[in-house]
Subunit: 105 residues, 2 copies
């Protein structure tokens, strides 16, 4: 993973509304939920939510598919895993004894 991509992903997550959106999508699973449901659950106005969803999508942390007039968003687990791997890469001065395996979803 290149540092620009990691910075982009971290910046996307470094905002309360977006972090809430992402965590909700992570918990919901790969089926995802519609933008409107997200906005309702989290109390975010449509324009603001759309802005944040765009930011998360651009960072590749979430993806969307269209179903009728709904846009269904879901977490990109692979990208989350890559980000975590990047943060913890070669950790603890190579003393792998004190590191348990990496999170994988």
């Amino acid at each position: 993973m290149k540092i620009e991509l990691a910075v982009g992903a971290l910046a996307a997550l470094a905002q309360e509304s977006r972090l809430s959106v992402f965590r909700l999508l992570v918990q919901v699973g790969k089926e995802g939920i519609a933008a409107g449901v997200l906005g309702e659950r989290l109390g975010i106005p449509p324009a603001t939510l759309s802005f944040h969803l765009k930011t998360l999508t651009h960072a590749k942390l979430i993806k969307s598919r269209t179903e009728g007039r709904f846009v269904i968003y879901s977490a990109n687990y692979a990208e989350m895993d890559k980000l975590i791997a990047y943060l913890t890469e070669h950790c603890c001065a190579g003393d792998s004894a004190q590191c348990s395996p990496i999170k994988k979803c």
Copy 2:
């Protein structure tokens, strides 16, 4: 972990110089290295580095100790683990079959 803390940690990491500093400290291990060495290795001017170290420290992602006239910085592995746990909490709609254990340092 509260969302404000997570947002603070993510914001601290969402900047190229700070992410480089953090990853270097993660790789160096718990003994840490001096501020000056960090700046030299990463090519960051003293005032700028100090600003970024303060930001990372405030986010609890790194810690420091003074040794003579050197200030030695090191990663806060526990806080990194908590952040990763927060991001992946209750993931995959409870389908734990597709999630391997969390990263621990």
